[in-house]
Amino acid sequence: MLPPVVFVLGKGGVGRSTVAAGLGLASARQGKRTLVMQWALADPVSPWFGRPAAGYAAQALLAGLETMRFSAEAALEQYFVEHLHLRAFHRAFIANRHVRKVTRAAPGLEELMFLGTIMWLTTLAREDRGWVYERVVVDAPAMGHGASLFAIPHATKLLGLGGLLVTETERVSAMLADPKRTAALVVTTPDELAVEETLEFWPRVTRDLGRPPAAVVMNRDVSALGPLPREGCAWLIAAGEGLAPEPRAGLSRVYAHLARRAERERGLQARLSGVKTVPVADALLLDASPAPIDVVGRAAAALAPLWGLL
């Protein structure tokens, strides 16, 4: 069963936002106040729910489901104003142009603010504003940057920082270290690069988080087609009968493409044996062009069991 804070990691283009939205939708359907927190230049999630793109202020998508887009500057302001109650200090010093340049350039500060915001929204905000999110699904930045998030508290310690950041770092470390509070999920597809990246980052995430990710979500899964032997099969030969060479070759290429994907799925499962895999079927196997919200709905149905039964 997943803890309240779930980081959805994955290579760009594997459907990380779809999975994060699906997981959030599944959670909201269980009656939990849920936030899908995005750290990206754009917000693809809100338009799927017929809403305009969200900014730093959380926006409701459905009853019990909200989304927001992280901004380090807004988070810093919120931290000083809402949590430390230092509005004047923030206005005079932190919003200062030169200070902003340094906080943007100093490695790790934005990441630490990101983690700090998640922690605040799930715990400390109860004191500051009377309520917290029961669950936060983090649509993390693409794999390289996303995976580096868990190393940030270590890196910050390495830098020998002091001041307020020390307290902040210790709280964030405690949140990440506790499997009852935080888990990571890795989204992949049966594409070569996505599978490679999953295998490359798995040990790194495991090391930095102190435990392996809770599950792999195999998006665009093709296992509905059966085993698809590489050398072809009887129905493929039958399928191409009576066709001219060009379209027949096209058919073989589609088959070969799908067979490689099925093989990669099996390969990844073998490499990560013992890890729970949640398949989300490739939409092309199902219908022509589903609306994005239907794709999210399907992902939600496939992912709901991860939250466990209430």
Binding site: V102, R104, A105, L159, G160, A194, G226, G250, L251
Partner: protein, 341 residues
């Protein structure tokens, strides 16, 4: 002047494979060619069937070509360290820089600025003897590639130490002003000390990097430079391709060629499976894939007209004739991009 071909596109569409194909075609045309891979996915190794490609690069013998193809992979931290050691007084200073915790984190973070570093690296390669006739640059996937050229301020901020330096000077001479106090309250004084060391160590590097970036920006607008957009049959890849073209337009640049990769033959649309046997999801997949490809092609043709080229790269070339097969794929693309420029 060295001709530059920049290959851009969404991730997973076969961008690196087509960049390798174009570079192989140029090598076969007898040109001294360098292929610089800036895609952190490292697909270049498998595209060319190589075990080790790194910052130093390797020469790839190409059947039927008089010169070898020089393939090099961008390693931002290594490139940065090399530029830093050129600028620094001695090895000890270079070693100190390499140990600086901020430099380590900074080098790690440079992955996000890989394309600016790649442009600077391409300029460095064009300045290295023997001067190559052509450089093919395989950029990192997505929009960041052009974004950095349109809005390089963020990178400049990262390297431009003047602001930080003045803060450090303030801190060092004890005239800690309000700004420094605010920073120290947030981060402790050590951050300032480390930033200060880093900035002093990197001053020369910054100057060299900025000069190369400026040259790269001019080079991109040179008539001898061609930009190739690679797209695949997904809505997302088409979105990225159109957004890249918009970004290029803002820089007064336009693609010479738009490759729709891994295209299936249109004739497959008339396929009707025999009754029974063929799994229904497979039939749906073929027709949905073709419909998707038509939709993507329509969007590309509406935006780029005759520049769109369907490429049947399958992603599974035979090992034995891989380089020839790739070069054959690259020739029409290279010809198309050369005609346009």
């Amino acid at each position: 002047m060295t001709r530059l071909t920049v290959v851009l596109g969404s991730g997973g569409v076969g961008k690196t494979t087509l960049a390798a194909a174009i570079a192989l075609a140029a090598t076969r045309a007898g040109r001294r060619t360098v292929l610089l891979g800036a895609d952190p996915a490292r697909r270049l190794r498998s595209a060319l069937g190589l075990e080790h490609v790194g910052d130093a690069g390797v020469d790839v013998a190409v059947p039927g070509a008089p010169l070898a193809l020089h393939a090099s992979l961008l390693e931002p931290s290594i490139a940065l360290r090399r530029w830093a050691s050129v600028a620094l007084a001695d090895d000890a200073a270079a070693a100190r820089l390499a140990r600086n915790p901020l430099f380590i984190v900074l080098a790690d973070r440079l992955a996000g600025f890989g394309d600016a570093i790649a442009c600077a690296r391409a300029v460095e390669l064009a300045e290295t003897l023997p001067v190559p006739d052509e450089i093919v640059l395989d950029t990192a996937p997505g929009l960041a590639a052009v974004e950095l050229l349109t809005r390089p301020q963020r990178l400049m901020e990262l390297f431009d130490g003047r602001v930080v330096q003045s803060l450090v000077r303030l801190a060092r001479f004890g005239k800690a002003g309000r700004t420094v106090k605010a920073l120290a309250r947030l981060s402790g004084a050590d951050l300032l000390r480390d930033l200060g060391e880093l900035v002093s160590a990197m001053e020369g590097t910054i100057a060299a990097l900025v000069r190369r970036l400026e040259r790269a920006r001019a080079w991109l607008s040179d008539p001898g430079t061609s930009l190739v957009l690679v797209c695949g049959s997904t809505d997302e890849a088409a979105d990225v391709t159109l957004a890249l073209a918009e970004q290029l337009k803002a820089l007064s640049l336009s693609p010479a060629c738009v490759a729709l990769n891994r295209a299936l033959p249109d004739s497959l649309a008339r396929w009707e499976p025999p009754a029974g046997g063929v799994p229904a999801p497979f039939v749906r997949y073929v027709h949905n894939q073709l419909a998707l490809q038509r939709r993507v092609k329509e969007r590309l043709v509406a935006a780029f007209g005759g520049l769109v080229r369907e490429v049947p790269e399958s992603g599974a070339l035979e090992e034995s004739s891989r380089l020839e097969a790739l070069a054959a794929l690259g020739e029409p693309l290279r010809a198309a991009s050369r005609r346009a420029s």
